[in-house]
C-alpha cells in the first residue's frame, strides 16, 4: 500500500511527511519526525502522556491517525518553550517539583496550557477535572495542581 503524503503545520512550522494509514499521529511524531516529547504511556487514550492540540483542541495523539493531520494545525510540547525561555507552566513545574520520572510531564503541560488558554483563572476543582485524563504514577497530583494554579496566577499578573 502506498504511503499518504501529509502536509500540516506543527508548532507553527509547515511540515510534510509520508505515513501509513495504520500509523497514529503519535507514531508519526515520535518515530518519523523524531519529536519524542510526546510520550506513549498506554496507546489507548487513558493516560494523556501523548496530549497535543489540533486546531486548538486538546486530544490524545495516540487516538488520531497520522493522515488526519492533513491541513490542520498541531501543537506539541516541543513548541512550548520559546528557545531557552521556559513557558511559565514549565518553570512552575520545576519550582514545585511537580515531576519525578517526567514521563507524564509533557502531557500535563500541554493539557494545562490548553486549560489556561480557555480559563485563565481555574478553581482547583476545575483544574483537577480538566486534567483527569492525565495520569501520573510517581509524583502524585497535589504538586502538579499547585504548579498549574501558581502558573495561572503568574500569567494573570503579567
Amino acid at each position: 500500500m502506498s504511503k499518504h503524503h501529509v502536509t500540516t503545520t506543527i508548532n507553527g512550522d509547515p511540515v510534510e511527511y509520508l505515513c501509513e494509514v495504520e500509523q497514529t499521529l503519535l507514531d508519526v511524531l515520535r518515530d518519523d519526525l523524531l519529536m519524542t516529547g510526546s510520550k506513549e504511556g498506554c496507546a489507548s487514550g487513558d493516560c494523556g502522556a501523548c496530549s497535543v492540540t489540533i486546531d486548538g483542541r486538546l486530544v490524545c495523539s495516540c487516538l488520531v491517525l497520522g493522515v488526519e493531520a492533513e491541513g490542520r494545525r498541531i501543537e506539541t510540547i516541543e513548541g512550548m518553550a520559546k528557545g531557552d525561555a521556559l513557558h511559565p507552566l514549565q518553570q512552575k513545574f520545576l519550582d514545585h517539583a511537580a515531576l519525578q520520572c517526567g514521563v507524564c510531564t509533557p502531557g500535563f503541560l500541554v493539557a494545562a496550557k490548553s486549560l489556561l488558554e480557555r480559563n485563565p483563572n481555574p478553581t482547583e476543582t476545575e483544574a483537577r477535572y480538566w486534567l483527569a485524563g492525565n495520569l501520573c504514577r510517581c509524583t502524585g497530583y497535589d504538586k502538579i495542581i499547585r504548579a498549574v494554579l501558581d502558573a495561572a496566577a503568574e500569567m494573570r499578573r503579567s
Partner: protein, 286 residues
C-alpha cells in the same frame, strides 16, 4: 488499509457501499482506534466522516436541534443554547472520557459502537431523539433506541451510517437529566446510567415523561413503567419511589468487575430516582 475522507454524504455512501463490511466509518476514533490497535477490527478502509459539513454542525431545526453525528463532546459543551434546552443530553455527552477524549468523541460513535454502557444513549432515548440514517437506498429517520441491537451490534444495513440526531422542540417547563454510577468520579464506564426527560403543565404536574436506563441490559432500555409512575404526579416522594421500583424491575444486568447483578438492580432504582428529581427540578425553573 486505505484512508478516505469524503466531503459529501453521497461520496461516503458510495465508498461504504462499494466496500461493504471491509470498511469502517471513522468519527472521533476513541473506540475504533483502540479496537484497531488491539486487533479487534481489521478494516481494509477507513472512511473519515469528519470532513462532511452536515456531520459536524449543530443547528436549529423545526423548533428543536439537529446535531451532526460526528460533533465532538467539546463542541456540544460549548453550545450554550443546546445546553440550556437539553442539559441532560449535554451532561451525558460530556461524561464520555477525559478532556482529551471529549476533543474527539462523538454521539454517533457512542451510539454505533453499541456498548450497553454508552453514556449519551439513555439521554438521547429519554429525549425522544431521532437519528437520520443514510445508505444506498437513501435516508430514513428512526428512533435512537432502534439502532443498537446488542453489545457491539447495530441495525444499520451494509453501506449505512448515521448522519445526525434530531431533538424535538421544547415546550415550557420541560427539561432532562442524565446521571451514572461509576466506582470513581472520572474516567470509568457506567455501572448504571439513567436518562430522564420530563414536561410539566402550568400547575407543575408531569404531563409527559421518558425514562431510559443504560448498562443494565444488552442495550439501553426504555422504561415505560417508570415514566408512567411520574405522569400525573408532581414528582412527590411516592411517585419517585414507584419510579425507582419500576426502574429496578426493568433491569436484566450482568455480573462483572464493576458490579453484581443485585447491585446493578438496586443502584438502577437509586440512580433513576436521583435523575428524575434533577430533571423535575430543572423543569420547574424553565
Amino acid at each position: 488499509m486505505r484512508y478516505e475522507a469524503p466531503e459529501t454524504v453521497d461520496k461516503a455512501v458510495a465508498l461504504l457501499a462499494s466496500m461493504g463490511r471491509k470498511a469502517r466509518v471513522l468519527a472521533g476514533g476513541t473506540d475504533l482506534l483502540v479496537q484497531l490497535r488491539a486487533g479487534v477490527v481489521e478494516p481494509e478502509m477507513m472512511i473519515d466522516i469528519k470532513k462532511i459539513a452536515e456531520l459536524r454542525s449543530i443547528a436549529r431545526e423545526a423548533g428543536g436541534f439537529r446535531i451532526g453525528a460526528a460533533v465532538a463532546g467539546a463542541e456540544i459543551r460549548e453550545h450554550a443554547d443546546l445546553r440550556k434546552a437539553w442539559p441532560g443530553i449535554c451532561e451525558a455527552a460530556n461524561l464520555i472520557g477525559s478532556t482529551q477524549i471529549q476533543g474527539r468523541a462523538s454521539m454517533g460513535g457512542n451510539l454505533c459502537n453499541a456498548s450497553p454502557a454508552a453514556d449519551s444513549v439513555p439521554a438521547l432515548i429519554a429525549a425522544g431523539a431521532k437519528v437520520t440514517v443514510v445508505g444506498p437506498a437513501g435516508r430514513r429517520e428512526v428512533p435512537v433506541e432502534s439502532i443498537a441491537t446488542g453489545p457491539g451490534k447495530t441495525s444499520l444495513a451494509d453501506g449505512e451510517f448515521v448522519v445526525s440526531f434530531l431533538l424535538p422542540p421544547r415546550p415550557a417547563h420541560a427539561s432532562d437529566a442524565y446521571l451514572r454510577f461509576i466506582p470513581r468520579t472520572e474516567m470509568d464506564i457506567a455501572v448504571v446510567g439513567a436518562g430522564v426527560n420530563v414536561t410539566l403543565d402550568a400547575k407543575g404536574v408531569v404531563s409527559a415523561a421518558r425514562v431510559s436506563l443504560g448498562a443494565v441490559a444488552p442495550t439501553a432500555l426504555v422504561v415505560e413503567d417508570a415514566a408512567k409512575a411520574l405522569i400525573g404526579t408532581k414528582g412527590e416522594a411516592a411517585a419517585l419511589d414507584a419510579l425507582a421500583k419500576a426502574a429496578s424491575a426493568a433491569c436484566r444486568p450482568i455480573d462483572d468487575k464493576r458490579g453484581t447483578k443485585e447491585f446493578r438492580i438496586q443502584v438502577a432504582g437509586v440512580i433513576a430516582r436521583r435523575t428524575a428529581a434533577k430533571a423535575l427540578e430543572r423543569a420547574r425553573k424553565v
